[in-house]
């Protein structure tokens, strides 16, 4: 799975993107966030307030119950502030 982090999630996690093999029991966006939180203090800090974390799967906004797999591109970011 290709993971991308933007804005302050990138700052807190410390990397902009990475390629990972997620465990088999990670089936949804909710599972993915729970697994990411267990990967270290930077992840735990960045994902502490899940309400302000938006997720896109293959460049489309995704709900928490959407399924994800190792072939997907998943991005995590705060609410957008362009314009």
């Amino acid at each position: 799975m290709k993971l991308l982090y933007f804005a302050w999630l990138k700052t807190k996690i410390g990397i902009a993107e990475e390629e990972v093999a997620v465990p088999e029991d990670v089936r949804t966006v909710t599972d993915l966030i729970a697994w990411l939180k267990s990967r270290g203090p930077g992840f735990a800090d960045a994902l502490a307030n899940e309400a302000v974390v938006k997720v896109a799967v293959n460049q489309e906004f995704a709900r928490r119950d959407q399924t994800v797999g190792n072939g997907d591109e998943v991005a995590l970011f705060p609410p957008v502030t362009g314009g």
């Binding site: 804005a7 700052t11 705060p78 362009g82």
Partner: protein, 157 residues
């Protein structure tokens, strides 16, 4: 119709002229230009850096523009959004719409900028006297976008 994401500035007169070049069906053009302010939340701002999600940004802007064309009879539309480091007074975004009549052009332009603010993956990092900080989402932007969810002229039929 066009969507561009770029670091360079744009020339407003050139872009608006090109939008209607050779199209005699256009009766009106409406444009919105967003600029970097020198103040935010009562604090002076020395610069701003816009980050975006290459690929998804272009895709979302294309979808937003297609939605505007579905709702209003537009002859053409243009969205230019800059990214990278900008300073107060710099242009950030241009939204322009061309239609036979002004109502569609005004409404579509307003819709595009409101929708873009809540749908396009851009994030602002502001530099102020206390250092840099990421701008939080505005509830006002969500309210502005929600208004258009209720007033889709086609959905109301």
């Amino acid at each position: 119709m066009a969507v561009r994401v770029q670091t360079e500035d744009f020339d407003l007169a050139e872009e608006l002229a090109a939008l209607t070049e050779g199209n005699r069906s256009v009766g009106g053009v409406v444009s919105f230009v967003g600029l970097v302010r020198d103040m935010a939340g009562g604090e002076p701002i020395s610069a701003m850096t816009l980050e975006h999600y290459p690929g998804m940004t272009e895709r979302k802007l294309g979808e937003i523009e297609a939605e505007a064309r579905r709702r209003w009879p537009l002859e053409d539309a243009l969205i230019i959004h800059r990214h990278g480091r900008l300073e107060p007074g710099d242009r950030i975004v241009l939204v322009a719409t061309a239609s036979a009549h002004r109502e569609a052009a005004f409404d579509a332009c307003h819709f595009l900028i409101d929708w873009l603010k809540t749908q396009a993956p851009f994030w602002k990092l502001e530099d102020g006297p206390a250092g840099s900080h990421w701008v939080g989402a505005s509830g006002g932007d969500d309210d502005a976008a929600a208004r258009w969810a209720k007033s889709d002229p086609k959905a109301a039929e």
